[in-house]
């Protein structure tokens, strides 16, 4: 517990020092990793705590991202103008779907509500029918596939394959200026902190225990009088909202949103970090997401092909040798150290309960 507190403080200090020491480019990368970490918290909630393997987080990430991108594009185009990509693809009038996104309040609400609503509907329809486990995973993956094809197909509405890019302003911040970038980084760090806190409180609450119970014995929970579908739907919705927030932050930080970031493979990549870090521990999932994405940048800079081997291999290795991820490894090492310390004293005093707990 104290170790956890210490590492938490160390992490906060490191995140706070980063803008002072890192170059704007590196800081932008770190901010991007923080976005993925926000998604990872949501995945750890749904998958680690709730047992719902969601292969479609890219959809919710994308819904949040596109909602934000649409607002930023309209803001840039001014009151009369059209977003640049619409001009290129020959759209002459602003589509009705786009109009409300000119309002910042509506856009911000959409960032949260769009992913939440889609997840809520899907969860309600699927979980109520007791479609679960692998079936749910496959359906969420099919959603990701369909979503990307839809985005690519609706060129005039979404920018097609290229998506949307060239964002210069973010609520009054100049994104081309290092100070603006630092401010956006700070926003991402704060959102990650809040997300982590919310998830932590949720896990510790009565609801969190119920969620774990649903994961480990859905039928038993039902027999006790709870409705597992409600518990799962709420959790899935929360995790989708987290992904949506991350997507909305991703847009000003990286400066692009496109279908290539949201499909089946990117959605699965979001899971890699969580699996490596440890899906049952929130902090582990965050650390894993940041570490894996950092490794990806590192490898992509030098040899891009190697990354796919490494990513695939890493996944296989973690699943075979450490199914609980690095957090699981840390836990078992800590457990072994503490039991080694205890064993001599325990056997010396000859107290039986120590043997039982150890």
């Amino acid at each position: 517990m104290t170790l956890g507190r210490i590492s938490l403080v160390v992490c906060i200090v490191l995140l706070a020092l980063a803008p002072l020491t890192l170059s704007p480019f590196r800081l932008g990368l770190l901010a991007k990793y923080l976005c993925f970490a926000i998604v990872a918290v949501g995945i750890a909630l749904a998958w680690g705590q709730g047992g719902m393997l969601t292969l479609g987080q890219g959809v919710f990430f994308g819904l949040g991202g596109y909602a934000m991108a649409m607002y930023l594009k309209l803001k840039e185009a001014g009151s009369a103008g059209l977003p640049d990509f619409m001009v290129w693809s020959g759209v002459e009038q602003l589509p009705a779907l786009w109009k409300p996104f000119g309002n910042p309040v509506f856009a911000l609400a959409a960032v949260v509500l769009l992913p939440g609503l889609v997840a809520f509907l899907l969860g309600l329809l699927v979980f109520r029918q007791r479609v679960r486990g692998a079936y749910f995973a496959i359906l969420s993956q099919a959603l990701a596939a369909a979503f990307v094809i839809l985005l690519v197909g609706q060129q005039g509405l979404t920018g097609g394959t290229n998506g949307m890019t060239n964002f210069t302003q973010f609520f009054g911040l100049d994104l081309t200026d290092p100070n603006g970038q630092r401010a956006v980084y700070a926003v991402a760090a704060v959102v990650l902190g809040v997300t982590f806190l919310v998830a932590k409180l949720l896990v510790r609450s009565r609801f969190g225990r119920l969620l774990v119970a649903v994961r480990d014995g859905e039928d038993r929970v039902r027999f006790l009088g709870y409705d597992p579908a409600v518990v799962k739907t709420i959790t899935f919705t929360i995790s989708a909202v987290m992904a949506g927030l991350a997507g909305a932050l991703f847009v000003p930080i990286v400066g692009i949103i496109s279908p290539a970031l949201l499909g089946i493979v990117p959605s699965l990549e979001l899971l890699v970090g969580v699996a490596v870090g440890g899906r049952f521990v929130l902090a582990g999932a965050i650390a894993g997401a940041i570490a894996v994405n950092y490794a990806k940048t590192l490898f992509s800079e030098d040899f891009a092909e190697g990354w796919l081997y490494l990513q695939g291999g890493l996944f296989v290795l973690v699943l075979v040798f450490a199914p609980k991820g690095l957090a699981g490894v840390v836990e078992s090492v800590r457990y072994r150290l503490s039991s080694r310390k205890q064993t001599p004293t325990g056997s010396g005093s000859g107290s039986a309960p120590v043997e039982v707990t150890a």
Binding site: L53, L122, L125, V126, Q129, R130, V131, G133, A134, Y135, A137, I138, L139, Q141, A142, L143, A145, A146, F147, I149, L150, L151, V152, G153, Q154, D219, I264, V265, L268, L271, A275, E305, L308, Y309, Q311, G312, G313, L314, F315, V316, L319, V320, P323
Partner: protein, 291 residues
């Protein structure tokens, strides 16, 4: 009307390919609880087998079919023996594990054959088509349909007439009881994997008739094939056949009526709606386990 009928062989051939792919998935999923994301790469392996064999003899396309079956089947066997065996009872982990394998296999294909797509020249007797009652029937599509029918009949004979197939059905229905009755369930598992992966390889050869071959060939079909498994119900033939037909036609016709990008969304909505009525797919294996 003519255009509508012309879409028929296309819808049927999509269904045929989906079926060939889904057969392996539904049995590995139903029998072992394994979700094999690397199944798509067995399709790719089959397609590249056809690519490598072309030009050796005049009938190399026909030779490619059994060779692809063996190549993909052995890859499946190796995967089962080396990794999946350790993961029984953890379906979600097998999904992620096999996805990792699939990434590695795709990159391997990219390194061996190059990233650009390659083309397999169809044999002369499959070029062209015939007009029947005003409907254009392309030979290559007809061949795929006939191939799928032959494979399904083969699987059906295997499952119902041969002792090995009966053992397999026994394991699908009740693994423990089958084991107590003296069936070597591990060996049956391995053989199921060989068979399912082999059929994916055959599907890969068939796909070379309708499109180019690339390292990501499998990823285009794997999701739809999984949807066939979900809609059809686990581990049996008729559900897979019916669901593949339904999805093939739905895909073929919706793409024709709306546009391709909306079609996928509509198919997804249709499946969610269908699951409201039959949450476990068209056919459910009756058992006494709580579901």
């Amino acid at each position: 009307m003519g255009a509508l009928a012309n879409q028929l062989p296309i819808g049927l051939s999509i269904a045929a390919v989906l079926l060939l792919i889904a057969l392996g998935l539904t049995f590995t999923f139903g029998q072992m609880g394994v979700i094999n994301m690397a199944h798509g790469e067995f399709i790719m392996a089959g397609a590249y087998t056809a690519y490598l064999l072309q030009g050796f003899t005049s009938q190399s396309f026909l030779i490619a079919l059994p060779v692809a079956f063996v190549v993909a089947g052995l890859m499946g066997l190796l995967l089962e023996w080396s990794l999946i065996r350790r993961f029984y009872g953890r379906p979600l982990d097998t999904l992620l594990l096999t996805w990792g394998v699939s990434l590695v296999l795709q990159q391997l294909a990219r390194d061996i054959f190059g990233a650009p797509n390659v083309q397999v020249t169809a044999p002369g007797w499959l070029v062209g088509g015939v007009d029947l009652l005003g409907v254009r029937l392309p030979y290559n599509r007809m061949f795929i349909i006939v191939l799928a029918v032959l494979c399904v009949v083969g699987v059906w004979v295997y499952l119902t007439k041969l002792p090995q197939g009966r053992r397999m059905r026994a394991v699908v229905q009740n693994r423990e009881l089958a084991g107590y009755s003296g069936i070597a369930t591990g060996r049956v598992d391995r053989f199921t994997f060989l068979l399912g992966s082999g059929l994916a390889g055959v599907a890969g050869v068939a796909l070379t008739l309708v499109g180019p071959v690339g390292p990501s060939l499998g990823t285009f079909y794997i999701v739809d094939a999984f949807l066939v498994v979900v809609a059809g119900g686990l581990g049996q033939l008729r559900g897979a056949v019916l669901a593949a037909l339904a999805l093939g036609f739905l895909n073929g016709y919706l793409e024709f009526w709306t546009d391709a990008s909306l079609a996928k969304v509509l198919v997804f909505v249709a499946i969610i709606a269908f699951l409201q009525v039959r949450p476990q797919g068209m056919f459910v294996l009756k058992g006494r386990t709580l579901v």
